[in-house]
Structures are given as structure tokens and as C-alpha cells.
């Protein structure tokens, strides 16, 4: 029984078809990496899963619950799905600690004390406890992104969606964020990760999906996708990545 299941999902922005008949299954504790060029639909796919975008056709089931029939409690659904964005999107008017405790306090009804304890536990885990009282603009990009991950984890989600979370980072800051994601994967978190970091995807994923023009062109275990891609378009994409020295 898969934890997330997309069936025939299509999504248009006006005349632009962003996703076309996408079907995808993600097992509980599984890690799926979405690869593909910018504009291939990776981000939109993630956003459909926590209903930041509404699908036009098809169905999505998360944790046994059909979420695309319009009857679902959006806020309740989002409580169990964490998402981390490329641009971090921390709240700039709040300290790191307040960023992490806001949703647990306001959405889950945690007491300030409970929320703080949980937040410090997470900040310890990401190695940023001493930054608890700083504002986000005092942190490096890598640190901000780690805080964004902690903020999502503070809601104790069952599923994490990571949307190109290292694409805005300086190269030397990428590994601190990816290491954190690897730890998460080891701890059994179910994740769907849109990424341009191929060696990371190869290392962390159970399954890799290559998206091209809104279609899942090929999917399989990372070993197969990266060493023996079947589809010509996958081969072409990967050869360009290799040319660019990114694999």
C-alpha cells in the first residue's frame, strides 16, 4: 500500500499543460527523486500533493485519503505534509525559534513550552541551537534552509516535499543541507524530492522519476536510471548533465 498515489494527474496553467497524465506511487518510508529540466513540472507536481495547486484531472491519495475530490480539509492535510521551498521562505520578522514554533502553537495547539522544547530538539539536530534568537537575515543561505526544514519538521509531518531546496544555495553550502536530508531519509521519513543534484538523488532515492514536459518519461531505481536509462530523452538529459560536470 503506497503512502502517496497519483493517478492520471493533469494540470494546466491557461493553455500551458504542466502535468499530463502523471501517475506515481510513493511507499511509506520511501524516497522518490524527481529529476528533469526546469519547467518540466517537478514543482507543480509537489504543489499538487499539498494542494497549493489544484489538479484539473486525475486523483491523488495521501495516507489513504482521497485529497482531490474537493471535500478534504486543506489545513488538516497540510499538517501532515511538510514542504520546503527553493527560496527558504522563512518569516523575516520572526526569530529562528518563532519561525519553528509558530505552526505547532497556532495549528496543533502546542503550549509555548512544548513548542520550544520541540524546537530546541530540532535546532540541536540541525546544529543551529545557538541561532535560536537570531533573525533569518543574519543566517547564511544554508543555515536558513536548514531552519526551513526544521520548521517543517516541527509539525511532525508524515511526508516531506522538497522543492529544489539547494538550487538557490552557494555550492559550498549545498552539502550541509543535503546531509540533513540524507539523515531524514535514514530515519525513515517519506519524501518526494525535486532536485538537480544527481549524485545526491542517486545516493538517497529508492526511485527516480525523470520528468519531461509534464510527463513522467521514465522511472526506476537510481542504479538503472543513471547507468542504463531506457528512454532516449532520459539519456539525452543525463548526457547534458554529465557534460556540465554535475554527475
Amino acid at each position: 500500500m503506497s503512502f502517496v498515489s497519483l493517478e492520471n494527474v493533469s494540470k494546466c496553467f491557461g493553455a500551458l499543460r504542466v502535468l499530463e497524465h502523471v501517475s506515481l506511487d510513493v511507499d511509506e518510508h520511501g524516497v522518490v527523486c524527481l529529476i528533469g529540466a526546469s519547467g518540466s513540472g517537478k514543482s507543480t507536481l509537489l504543489r499538487c500533493i499539498n494542494l497549493l495547486e489544484k489538479v484539473d484531472e486525475g486523483s491523488i491519495v495521501v495516507d489513504g485519503q482521497q485529497i482531490t475530490n474537493g471535500a478534504v480539509d486543506v489545513n488538516a492535510l497540510r499538517r501532515k505534509i511538510g514542504i520546503v521551498f527553493q527560496a527558504y521562505n522563512l518569516f523575516p520578522h520572526m526569530t529562528v525559534l518563532d519561525n519553528v514554533t509558530l505552526a505547532p502553537r497556532k495549528v496543533r495547539g502546542a503550549t509555548p513550552r512544548q513548542a520550544r522544547e520541540k524546537a530546541f530538539e530540532l535546532l540541536d539536530r540541525i546544529g543551529l541551537r545557538e541561532k535560536a534568537d537570531e533573525f533569518p537575515d543574519r543566517l547564511s543561505g544554508g543555515q536558513q534552509q536548514r531552519v526551513a526544514i526544521a520548521r517543517a519538521l516541527a509539525m511532525e509531518p508524515k511526508l516531506m516535499l522538497l522543492d529544489e531546496i539547494t538550487s538557490a544555495l552557494d555550492p559550498q553550502l549545498v552539502s550541509e543541507v543535503l546531509n540533513l536530508v540524507s539523515q531524514l531519509a535514514e530515519s525513515g521519513m517519506t519524501m518526494i524530492i525535486a532536485t538537480h543534484e544527481m549524485s545526491f538523488a542517486r545516493e538517497v532515492a529508492d526511485k527516480v522519476c525523470f520528468l519531461d514536459a509534464g510527463v513522467i518519461c521514465e522511472e526506476g531505481p537510481p542504479g538503472q536510471i543513471f547507468t542504463a536509462p531506457r528512454e532516449p530523452r532520459t539519456r539525452e538529459f543525463l548526457s547534458r548533465i554529465i557534460e556540465a560536470g554535475r554527475l
Partner: protein
């Protein structure tokens, strides 16, 4: 030259007019404080209602648009006349037996709320949509996202333009003299009509300017401070 000094800047008349004008100016201060406090609250409410999503909120949004369009376009002096003379004429117990001061506050609040709503709205719209998206994807409701994420950021950004509007409001408290609120302008007029000397207006002008300058400098300071912070964040 001597005539000018005598008519507008006579030290004797300055001293003689000061007590009454000063007493009147304290009414301006009260008008200002009460009106500003109400404007801050009402304008934020109107701005939020104007931004409500969904089809169900359409009539409310339309109502707020009509209100802001109307009162931004109407001169304060007309609103003051209508409120100050019209409401008593209505003979409705609750509305019609108020002091001129109250009518003055109502007129100021009606007009300035319409202005300040636009300031808040610009602030709310200047908060990047990704902030709202981040808040909503943590499970916060629309109202919670506004309350904890969007509005606090918007308010911080609009403090300088808000202060600017308040400088305008301070000065416009003098306009409600037309409905008989005994504030500084009216007191100045009374003095000048009695003693055929205009120095009393100078007294009032000096008081208004003295009140405005610190606020103007404070606004400059805030703008500068923010520019510095943004430049620091950009590096």
C-alpha cells in the same frame, strides 16, 4: 515692513494670544490622538476586508471600495459640515446629541480611514506571495496567515507612509473649526477679530510646525534605517 511685523509678528500680541491659542491647540492634540488611534484600527480592518478572497466576500469588498472611493474624493471640509451640522439635524438620539469634538473626530476618521486603508493595502500587497504560501503550507488558515505572517510584515513596511498621513491629519484637525470645535485655528480667529491683529495665527502656525518637525524627522530616520538594513541584507 514695520506694518508687517506689527500685524503678524507682534511680540505683545504673541504673548496675549498665546494662552487661548495654546488651549485650543490642546484640543487639536486630542482630536489628533483620538482620530489617529481609530484610523489605525479601522483602516486595517477595511484593508483586510478589501483583500478577502473568494466569491462570497464580493459584496463586502465592493462596499469597502465604494467607501474608500467616496471619502478619498470628498473634501474634508464638506464631510465636516455634513457630519457636524447634518447629524444633529437628524434627531436620532445616539447620533444627534454629541459634542462638536465628537463630530470632528468622526469627520476626520471617515476621511483619513479611506486614505490609510490604501497605505495598508499597499503594504499587504508588498508582502511576497511566497510568504503566504509558506504559512498556508504549514497548515495555518487564511486568517492565521494574515494575523501572524502577512499583516505584521505589512505594518512594519508602511510605518513611514503612515506617519506621513498623520502629519496631514494633524494639520487637518484645524479644519474642523468650521463646525465650531474650539481648537487653535478658531481661537486664533477669535483673537484676530477682537484685536485686529493676526499674530494669533502665527502662534497657531508655530505650534503646528513644532509638532510636525519631530514627526517628520522621525519618519526620515525610519526610512533611512530601513534602507540601511536592506542594503546590509543585500550584501
Amino acid at each position: 515692513m514695520h506694518q508687517v511685523i506689527h500685524t503678524f509678528f507682534s511680540p505683545h500680541d504673541f504673548r496675549a494670544a498665546f494662552p487661548n491659542v495654546w488651549a485650543g491647540f490642546q484640543v487639536n492634540l486630542k482630536l489628533m490622538v483620538v482620530a489617529e488611534a481609530l484610523v489605525l484600527v479601522f483602516a486595517l480592518a477595511v484593508a483586510i476586508v478589501r483583500g478577502l478572497p473568494g466569491r462570497g466576500a464580493r459584496p463586502l469588498r465592493a462596499l469597502m471600495i465604494v467607501y474608500t472611493d467616496f471619502f478619498r474624493g470628498t473634501p474634508l471640509i464638506l464631510v465636516a459640515f455634513v457630519v457636524g451640522f447634518g447629524m444633529p439635524a437628524l434627531n436620532i438620539g445616539l447620533l444627534s446629541k454629541r459634542s462638536n469634538f465628537t463630530y470632528g473626530v468622526i469627520a476626520l476618521v471617515l476621511v483619513y480611514t479611506a486614505y490609510v486603508t490604501e497605505v495598508y493595502r499597499a503594504g499587504i500587497e508588498s508582502v511576497h506571495p511566497s510568504q503566504r504560501m509558506a504559512a498556508r503550507s504549514l497548515g495555518l488558515s487564511y486568517a492565521q496567515s494574515m494575523r501572524h505572517v502577512v499583516v505584521p510584515q505589512a505594518v512594519r513596511r508602511v510605518i513611514p507612509p503612515l506617519l506621513n498621513d498623520f502629519i496631514g491629519l494633524q494639520k487637518d484637525t484645524a479644519l474642523v473649526s468650521v463646525i465650531g470645535v474650539a481648537e487653535a485655528a478658531l481661537q486664533s480667529q477669535a483673537y484676530s477679530q477682537t484685536y485686529a491683529n493676526f499674530t494669533s495665527y502665527t502662534v497657531a502656525a508655530v505650534l503646528f510646525v513644532l509638532l510636525t518637525i519631530p514627526l517628520a524627522r522621525f519618519t526620515d530616520h525610519l526610512i533611512l534605517q530601513r534602507e540601511r538594513r536592506e542594503r546590509a541584507a543585500a550584501t
